[in-house]
């Protein structure tokens, strides 16, 4: 596809803008911002990747992954503003998940140790880890708030903080994992996964594309489980002090 093709593809942006205008949906501004951002961000990534692939220097790979983690943290931290030190807990979780998955992928030679493989896969791992963090934090902060009475009841009966938030913790971990598991059950039936579609369009052998897609799916199962559980166990202690008292939920963001 050339730049003319890309320019023509803007027709697909014009259609929703015209519809929004006609029906007074008020979505024109956001649509335009989203379009401009995606053009700039993706083109930049394209050029950066070309450079990194060409340079063959691991520093750039690490730098790119660091950048992904910073961006993911920036996005997810708002959802956990009530949890103290959430920024570092998120960064720790993303780094751990990234290292764990890459260690398995590279250690068993499942993928070759080149930027071409490491970077896109890291993007998917960190991106999914971010989505899972947001799902988990949304649910966990809500659960903790609605279950305050139950939490204090268990404390007042002589329970530890961990026992007191266990229901909230388990419920939120489970709830955040369900979409990942559910979406894998119907995958390929309704729509082809984006990565696989892209590979096929770009001319790859469909079976090879499927193999890669499967690898990614399995990878994301680990990513999801490890993210939620690790974040959960890092987060709950900050809701209590040394005297095993529940701290007031911070209202400020």
């Amino acid at each position: 596809m050339n730049f003319l093709g890309l320019a023509l593809s803007l027709i697909f942006v014009l259609i929703p803008i015209v519809l929004s205008r006609t029906l007074n949906l008020g979505l024109e501004r956001d649509t335009i911002i989203a379009t401009v951002r995606s053009i700039i961000q993706l083109l930049a990534v394209g050029y950066i990747l070309t450079f990194v692939f060409g340079s063959d220097n691991y520093i750039y790979i690490i730098l790119m992954i660091a950048l992904m983690i910073v961006a993911a943290t920036q996005n997810a931290r708002k959802k956990g503003a009530t949890i103290q030190g959430i920024t570092w807990k998120l960064i720790g979780t993303f780094i751990f998940v990234e290292i764990l998955t890459q260690a398995i992928l590279l250690g068993f030679h499942i993928i070759p140790a080149t930027a071409q493989y490491i970077i896109p896969i890291s993007g998917m791992v960190v991106g999914n880890s971010m989505v899972l963090s947001i799902l988990f934090l949304n649910r966990f902060t809500a659960e903790v708030e609605t279950r305050q009475d139950e939490t204090e009841l268990i404390l007042s009966l002589g329970g530890t903080p961990k026992q007191a938030v266990q229901t909230s913790l388990i419920t939120s971990i489970k709830a955040s994992l369900i979409p990942t598991i559910e979406s894998q059950k119907t995958i390929g039936l309704v729509q082809l996964p984006g990565m696989m579609s892209g590979q096929i369009i770009a001319g790859a052998d469909p079976v090879q594309a499927v193999q890669f897609q499967l690898l990614i799916l399995f990878l994301l199962l680990t990513t999801a489980a490890v993210t939620s559980i690790m974040l959960g166990f890092l987060s709950y202690p900050t809701l209590f002090n040394k005297q095993m008292q529940m701290l007031k939920i911070r209202e400020d963001s």
Binding site: E150, S156, L157, G158, T160, M244
Partner: protein
């Protein structure tokens, strides 16, 4: 009025607790006699519930000392303190599931098991039959929940039992049931009981001793009959129903 240690189960010395700049418990000094029922009265917002939360260790005072059974609360492990000073609330919060699950909870938290036999004995003790054991707490009335909540707190064998308006939302019959139950527990096991109530008749008839709190302060304390003939002017107004 005596404040000697061996007669008080729970003692407050210049206890202050504030929320930000607002004092909620304002320099309270006093004691609760051992093995007796003390009723705690005062207008709503006086700080009664907050006082209970301090005793059970759910919150800590900014300054002052709280002495439980001769020992400063800071010398207890938090979990030990909370088992020693049991708390039952008006809300009678239940964990979803069966009555048995709720009664077992204090032991489950310690990694122990409450035998069905003991659970049934507890139920009978609080005036519920064995048929309640496997009932879902959703199907209980307010009074029944309150009884389960008290029984659950008793599983920890507390030395001090704090009851926060446990009969306030109950009908007359359930209220009398629970009054009898508390008296029985007190007679039998020497548990020190502190009972917050807004029913002044109940405060006099049930209580051996009474505390009157207002705006975070202990205004008056002594034999419960003090409510029949209060000396303090604010207490008089409160007793006559002029302060809610």
């Amino acid at each position: 009025m005596t404040t000697s240690n061996n007669e008080s189960a729970l003692q407050f010395k210049h206890v202050i607790y504030s929320d930000g700049a607002t004092p909620i418990i304002n320099n309270v000094t006093g004691f609760f006699p051992k093995g007796k029922i003390t009723t705690l009265v005062g207008p709503s917002g006086a700080g009664k519930t907050t006082l209970f939360r301090l005793c059970n260790g759910l919150i800590s005072p900014d300054s002052g000392e709280i002495i439980v059974d001769g020992k400063d609360i800071n010398e207890y492990e938090p979990t030990e303190l909370r088992r020693t000073v049991g708390l039952a609330l008006q809300s009678a919060t239940m964990l979803s599931g069966s009555v048995y699950k709720n009664l077992s909870m204090p032991l489950t938290l310690k990694g122990e098991i409450l035998s069905e036999e003991k659970a049934i004995n507890l139920l009978i003790d609080v005036g519920l039959g064995s048929e309640y054991l496997q009932k879902n707490v959703k199907d209980l009335s307010g009074g029944q929940r309150q009884k389960v909540s008290i029984a659950r707190t008793l599983v920890n064998k507390p030395k001090i039992l704090l009851l926060d308006e446990i009969t306030s939302s109950l009908d007359r019959v359930s209220q009398q049931d629970i009054e009898e139950l508390i008296k029985r527990i007190n007679n039998r096991s020497e548990v020190t009981i502190i009972w917050i109530t807004h029913n002044l008749q109940q405060a006099v008839s049930i209580g051996d001793y009474t505390w009157v709190m207002m705006s975070g302060k202990l205004i008056e304390s002594g034999e419960s009959s003090l409510l029949n003939n209060p000396q303090n002017k604010s207490v008089k107004r409160f007793v006559q129903g002029e302060i809610e």
